[in-house]
Amino acid sequence: MSALLEISGIGKSFGAVRVLSGISLAVSEGETLGLIGPNGAGKTTLFNVVTGFLRADAGQVRFAGAPVDRLPPAERAARGLVRTFQKAMVFPALSLRESLAMAARQRAGQGLRWLGARACHQESAARVERLLAESGLARHGGERMADLSYGEQRIADLLMALALEPRLLLLDEPTAGLSQAEAERLLGIVRRHDARTAIVLIAHDIDIVFNHCDRIAVMHLGQLLRTGTPQAVRQDAAVRAAYLGSLAD
């Protein structure tokens, strides 16, 4: 079975600074891949390249068997390659329900409808209510996003991504700034929603990564250091030296 996402030979520089060099990586359907590495390793840049927010200098990205390098971010998202951002990016003036509806309508291909809006509203409503119920945020549905707590905003951010029914979800530090319990709750929502969704997870909390991921990729100074099962990675000498070592001491 071929991989869902195939990255080969990605390189990227900002001016004289080489941020990514020769990254090759594959993610298969339903898999959860953890992406770790110290600050400045190039994890978020890799996300930006994969989702089309940055254009790579070299290399290729294939998603579901087709090259997506020339597609704009919106087009990639529409194909199921969905991401979140390091900081919760919510629409402060819209309510939680409206925000989720925005994602749900886009998924249904009705995001730019003008006339016959009533029908769109109703169609997306069911999916939105299901998401709200799953996440336990139903009672906040009518509140403006700006009025939600930070943890709730992060969950709302995730729910928007889930409303798109992603095939691959790229989560960029979804648990940063959250308590352990909140983080577990958030990842639980992802898993419960749809087990077939592949996930790439960037997180600084090593425990979370090792507990939730099937495989782990370690980045350091723009290069992919090692890919493997949590066990293998934990025991890798190079990884220890570059990254885990400081934690293990």
Binding site: F14, G15, T44, N48, F53, L54, F85
Partner: protein
Amino acid sequence: MGYAIVQTLNALSFSALLLLTGLGLSVVLSLMNFVNLAHGGFYLLGSYVAVLWLGSGAPWWLAFPAAFLAAGLAGAVLERFPFRRFYARPHLMQVLLTYGLSVIMADLMRWGFGAQILTPELPAALQGVVFLFDMPFPLYRLFLIGAGVALGLLLWLLLDRTLWGAVLRAAVTDRGIVETLGIDTRHLFAAVLVLSAGLGGLSGALGAGMLAAYPGLDEEVLILALVTVVVGGLGSFGGTVAGALVVGFALTFSKVWFPEFANVVAFSAMAGFLLLRPNGLIAPPLRQI
């Protein structure tokens, strides 16, 4: 031969005028992220001051510092209230506020200086002409080119090569850090605005010999300056220079080659250019995420 040289000099002199007006605008835009549509008003005020000064019999060369001071003073007043409260606001609000102020300034100037077209009496030293291959070119325009180059250099040295300029650039990047050093950034920003307004007035004084002074000129100049700054790409000194050259040459040579359709050609060319390069000639590197 002479024809081509003189037309090129025509373009250069107009570019110099655009540079002078554009610089004032781009200084506040690039350093303080403040859009000042009242800049045309500073320009026209400078023109009027210079016209009156040159007609008064006082030493002619003092007309330029006088125009700088008059416009700078107007800028200082407006900086205290209400510009200062709008530095952190979105561009739309700045555009609206300063546009309203420019309407008020324009009407006050019409009140004070009348609606007649006024022109300066240039000193004899600037009235001469040079002949290049038998084609006449006014000395005054050479003076404009010289002034444009000199002022551009001076400003660049001030902002790029002095401590004051360094502090200023630091304050733009991070206001907080500079304030912890005990520097009052409010004064710093006020000084930049006064400098920009003064530059507007100075360019008005220099440009009066070419464009005269009358109600409505402020708006015409403002648009040219805005186009210059935007075509150059916001927020860089080199961009404004490049923009002035592009706009000056486009406007001049469209008049040379298609006199009847000069504006259509020049505007379409600039619009087309902005469609192809939506961030202008020299866009500062920007990381969105």
